[in-house]
């Protein structure tokens, strides 16, 4: 089975090539770019919203990208059970779009944090759990607005539903519950501030990004974890 990956490009995306390479060379999958003005995803199985500063982060991070033409197609794809992964700014966009719960605000330190973080893996479904990924992974972060916020009831739902993907072991940004990534209730939309797309080459700080990407794919294609490179 051939899995197709679409990496979206918004004006101001700057990790689109990293995300492309993670799936194309890291996992050896058919990957292509989709410009934000497109209204179709061309049969993609997984849509990746990459990191960066879409629309200059004007108004709020992700607030304007949310209304890009392509987001209508992303919404339909997600509603039909298709896989979606948002990394960093992509996570912010998915939260603004309401495809993931919560919001990301300024880091409590007010500093831009660029470092490699240790993350504990949540028990977040059949493909994304400590059994598949190990109890801890190491991934780089690079953000000024990664401070995850959600109301109390929303946080309780996330926790009881096993929707927390990753938690910082040493919270770099003030996130509630040290949350670094979440999935939606249905288990097909994933978002995280850390960068699996900066953790797959030999010269990267870790190669844990490969396992993360596989875990996301395996949520829709359980066989994929055995078939990919």
């Amino acid at each position: 089975m051939a899995i197709n990956i679409a990496v979206l490009q918004f004006p101001g995306s700057n990790c689109d090539q990293d995300a492309f390479q993670l799936f194309a060379s890291g996992l050896g999958l058919a990957t292509r770019y989709v410009w934000h003005k497109e209204t179709r995803l061309g049969g993609a199985d997984l849509v990746v919203l990459p990191g960066g500063f879409s629309y200059g982060d004007y108004l709020r991070c992700g607030a304007i990208a949310r209304f890009s033409p392509v987001m209508g197609a992303v919404r339909e794809h997600a509603a039909a059970g298709g896989l979606v992964l948002g990394i960093c700014n992509g996570f912010q966009i998915l939260c603004e779009a309401g495809l993931l719960p919560g919001a990301l605000i300024r880091n409590s330190s007010l500093e831009y944090r660029c470092m490699t973080c240790e993350l504990s893996v949540g028990d977040a479904g059949p493909s994304f759990n400590p059994g598949a990924l190990g109890a801890r992974v190491r991934l780089p972060i690079g953000h000024g607005e990664g401070n995850y916020r959600i109301d109390e009831a929303g946080l309780a739902r996330l926790e009881s539903g096993g929707q927390v993907l990753l938690r910082y072991t040493d919270n770099p940004n003030g996130s509630l519950g040290s949350i670094a990534g979440v999935r939606n209730e249905a288990g097909n939309v994933f978002g995280m501030m850390p960068h699996p797309d900066r953790a797959f080459e030999r010269f990267h700080p870790s190669r844990d990004g490969i396992a993360i990407a596989r875990a996301v794919l395996a949520a829709g294609f359980p066989e994929s974890s055995r078939q990919t490179a």
Binding site: L59, A63, C95, A103, I105, R106, S108, L110, D151
Partner: protein
């Protein structure tokens, strides 16, 4: 007519920027400061008469685009109808 939209962080949401600005105000000698919240003002100029429909439309846009209801509150003022 002019519309001024005020967007502020929700009371129960941490405002790191407000905290930092508050500390700076205190270091400049301001006494008795109990809280600082930093928000934004968005000014719109419209060539359209004021109407309940327009206000409803602005209200909807405030909730959809100009503010994020998870973390922010908003209100707006209309002047010069």
């Amino acid at each position: 007519m002019k519309i001024k939209v005020f967007v502020t962080p929700k009371r129960n949401v941490l405002d790191p920027q407000g905290v930092a600005v508050g500390h700076a105000l205190e270091s400049l000698g301001l006494k008795g400061l109990k809280g600082t919240r930093v928000g934004k003002v968005i000014e719109l100029e419209l060539e359209a008469p004021d109407s309940p429909q327009l206000r409803a439309q602005i209200d909807k846009l405030c909730g959809e685009l100009l503010s994020n209801p998870v973390i922010e509150d908003y209100h707006f003022e209309v002047t010069g109808g």
